[in-house]
Symmetry: C2
Subunit: 358 residues, 2 copies
């Protein structure tokens, strides 16, 4: 089996000459235009097959001005798991809608880097951008004083603070923190600590606020001191637990910012001879597939990251179509700034029952 077209590119013109028609007609056949005789269509198709003609997407893109490509900007440094899963949602949705994904990674989020990245995407003429880097401190501030309408293409930011004039698709991390904490409170825990993600992240800050809100609701505002910063990674779980117990010796529950860190917490609790959940209840966020199989099975919050990515892509396609004044596919009728919610999944690491909740 040989794929033709190895030596020299076969072009529209080649097919046209062989078929004895104009390039225009070949183009019509390729693009499925109705205005072609069945007769000539077949002849052209035959010639295409014979020559192994494959239209140059590049040439088409240049003349139509649309690249059918979406740029995805992420940072893979941390949280690669989330990124990996998110890619899945995007790649599939993009495929379905006829777009390809151009992947770029940011190393830092300085103004210069952001600008260089945008320049790159403009030069490549992507039809739209999914901005999936983490919102670090004010790193997305440029989104604020940025006239996004002046960008040649629409942009949708993932898991970023909603702002007027910028499309975002995010989880409600405040609500997640509050829900998690309410769960622990409902079990009678009163000394609830929190091991958060990196403190400069918007996601982290939202969850901390939710956690504190729930504590305040329960009349335990002072418990809001029981906070330790982690880095999402398993290695920061154990040290986090130790520090929390120094701050609060009566600690009886930990809301951990990620299942990965929670694994470290479980290991450390085991090492310290603490029973989970009898002595200390532990819960995470992410609900990774493995979490149901830890010892004990871990209570967690499901976060449908692929869905977030998919929704973002749909919204982006809607924006792309709108800018061009074209109708957008029904699947893209996504509201302005959609918010997704976590689901609480309760397992034995918080529930003192002997019956497995798995």
């Amino acid at each position: 089996m040989t794929i033709p077209g190895g030596d020299k590119r076969v072009t529209l013109a080649d097919v046209a000459k062989l078929a004895g028609v104009s390039k225009q007609t070949v183009s019509r056949v390729v693009n499925g235009s109705a205005h072609v005789t069945e007769d000539t269509r077949e002849r052209v198709l035959h010639c295409i097959e014979t020559l192994g003609f494959r239209p140059s997407a590049l040439a088409r893109q240049l003349s139509t001005g649309r690249s059918q490509t979406i740029g995805v900007v992420s940072n893979g440094g941390q949280g690669y798991l989330v990124t990996g899963v998110a890619y899945l949602g995007m790649v599939r949705q993009a495929d379905r809608m006829g777009y390809a994904l151009l992947i770029k990674e940011m190393v830092d989020f300085s103004a210069g880097s952001v600008r260089a990245m945008l320049d790159f995407l403009i030069e490549r003429q992507v039809d739209g951008v999914i901005w999936a880097g983490p919102e670090i401190g004010d790193s997305h501030a440029w989104l604020d004083d940025f006239d996004l309408a002046s960008l040649p293409m629409p942009l949708v930011a993932i898991n970023a603070k909603a702002r007027p004039g910028v499309d975002t698709v995010s989880f409600d991390n405040f609500e997640a923190g509050r829900l998690a904490t309410r769960h622990l409170l409902s079990l009678g825990r009163r000394n609830i600590g929190h091991i958060s993600g990196p403190a400069n992240r918007w996601v982290t800050q939202q969850r901390v606020e939710g956690w504190r809100a729930a504590l305040a609701e329960a009349g335990l505002p002072e418990a809001g001191r029981n906070l330790v910063e982690g880095d999402w990674d398993v290695t920061s779980g154990g040290p986090g637990l130790r520090r929390l117990r120094e701050i609060c010796p009566q600690l009886d529950a930990v809301f951990v910012g990620s299942d990965r860190m929670a694994i470290g917490v479980l290991a450390e609790a085991h090492r310290l001879g603490l029973r989970v959940p009898e002595d200390i209840a532990v819960m995470g966020v992410d609900n990774q597939p493995e979490s149901a199989f830890l010892i004990p099975p871990l209570t967690s919050m499901t976060q449908d990251t692929p869905r977030m990515a998919e929704v973002a892509l749909r919204l982006l396609v809607r924006r792309i179509c709108e800018r061009r004044g074209e109708p957008y596919p029904e699947a893209c009728a996504i509201p302005e700034s959609p918010v997704l919610y976590h689901d609480l999944v309760v397992r034995a690491s918080t529930l003192c029952s002997k019956s497995p909740t798995r």
Copy 2:
């Protein structure tokens, strides 16, 4: 802050007109040609800045015939974790070498799908392809009777059987299986079972053979029956262990094909009241960051997937340059079909010592 160029694209010609030079000269400045007076260069640069000119990568690609884009074909269905990590290695290396990554996903690996995927990549005129889909049964057979030289661009297959005429970058999974089994044998285990990945995968088959080879070396060929098929996923670990114990009641060790499945095995062993490793030694493959923090810490085999991806990309760039008769960067001096090896990391799940190996 406003990014210019929103309304209508600024072109070379616009800059040329404003600067009072030819398009050709502007092109020279943009591409850093030496043959430009410092004087005119500055003037042109100024005009570029003023107009916010950004060269169209599309137009350049069309005229140069190179897209500076590499197509990555993967299946994200299973093993997204590995894929996610692999992306990291590729994205970074690609960035460094001035390439962007175009991500595509295969749903099935039928001949038709493969062909369609290749057609897509040809149409997009990617400079090269990384084929990262799993090698399922004969799904890569097309690589054999395929005149790859007839493809317009070079292709490197990741984790696929080495074949003459096809570039591959793989782990030595046979050696991995053998090494793992030898480790268990060295601990005095004799009834060693294996929970493999999907049986139709090349990777799986290699590991099974390595496992059997080690058993045969030890004079225990009949233990090769203690094989159960898993699906890489945590959920198949528990059932796998139960089936193995039915097949071989004296089972005293399990070589598990992935750390994720091993987590399921540990959970099930715990449920059954089996002590790990006293009653049964358990080890996995992948050495995920979490594995050191399981209860007990899991012996595993480190697999440097980002490195594999990076090496593949370098080799690909080498091929791209070679085809064009250009010298390739030193970093791309990768040998023909590089093979990577797993490292054995021994932890408490196989070693009956009380001192933590973490």
